[in-house]
Symmetry: D2
């Protein structure tokens, strides 16, 4: 199962070339992940400040540019649930054209910023979103 | 030879956990690359709108968090000069602690957004910054 | 009549003090105005690049801080329709607590950035949102 | 005496119309004020988290658009030192063309977000920057 997140490309996302300035994509990806945790019942604003889920690594291919007014659809899935980490894959389309593929690793940290194990309820909540594809 | 770019971590970069919100790092990396092209004599504001250098792919590991007030130093080098593409590696330290390593591929595009060959003078300007290391 | 725009305060909006970093409020206000023009049938992505609606002046009082997770509601109304300008007032609440009041003036410009008169259909579209209050 | 802060307009500041997206100006103004406190010997990163200086009110006129590559110069002065508040005026020029004028009021708050009196050393540090002009 995917978590889907619609995002219209707004004026604020675009650069002088009229396409999305790529750091804005990472704000969109972060919004998507924040909405995902919200959906799972673990909103970021409740996790903090006892815990946090910083991004340890992220790699993204921008396969086609997005323009102001484009209606993007992000599909987020879980690629791996580690002891303290979470692998995510986020694929964005506009209609049937892919715009980007992003893979990232989050880590659950405690209030001192040290990795901590996922509680059982969070681990269970991720399971339905696990992608079997490589 | 590296292109070096100092950046103090400012209030605007930081999140409620007091560390850099990672999409802000990509703004910093973009500023670093813009300053690099400036140094080479090809400022972005002169390239545009006849040409642009969108980022096609970027992968980043955040190896330690950065806090408000930290003095970062970014070292940018060229990993590959393709026909229309440019591979870059950007490594940030605060003192001798590494904060992130980012590798990206830019593409030179024309006013229609299609890849075009690097002109000889730009290609020559990149050469001193080529990293021999893998 | 007001145009209403809900906005949850997200992680990306907040600073190390855990409250909204005020430049992010201006992105939210801009999103609200963009959604307003969308609702009126004049989406920014259709106006551009033949026309634009830059902000000429804006004044804002932040009457109480907003925190991560707060559900804000923005109420946007028109205070004045000039020959080439538009006066707007945007008031944000969380529940019944006011968070900010912002008043701004937009100007309709042509592709050369010069002020131009509002077309009759746009002028008519603003009318229902005119606030009679001072 | 003014505090001066140079800022080149970068790619990230600009919108599809090729001019500065105005919320980015507020990030620039914030950077200027952060640099001002730094110069005075009270860097934000030392003030926090025992104190903070949130913006209570800001009004800005954008008198001419700024484009990518423009070299802006911000001149910051103090208009008023209240018991717990600070009035600032920030005027930006590119060459001799004015780009914006911004007036804001900051408030010194404690760790609970309540206003507190300026310590004598901070009050003294502001004095040389007081503008006599209305």
């Amino acid at each position: 199962m995917d978590f889907t997140f619609p995002q219209k490309i707004l004026f604020k996302h675009c650069d002088p070339a009229g396409i999305v300035f790529y750091p804005r994509y990472f704000e969109i990806i972060n919004d998507c992940i924040e909405a995902f945790f919200d959906r799972l019942g673990f909103p970021f604003e409740h996790l903090h400040p006892q815990a946090a889920v910083p991004t340890a690594q992220i790699e993204t291919r921008f396969t086609a540019p997005s323009r102001h007014g484009d209606q993007l659809n992000l599909a987020l899935g879980v690629t791996q649930v580690g002891r303290t980490s979470l692998g995510l894959e986020c694929i964005a389309h506009c209609g049937d054209q892919q715009r980007f593929v992003s893979r990232s690793t989050l880590v659950l940290t405690n209030s001192q910023g040290r990795p901590q194990n996922w509680p059982d309820d969070m681990r269970a909540a991720f399971t339905p979103y696990l992608r079997s594809t490589p």
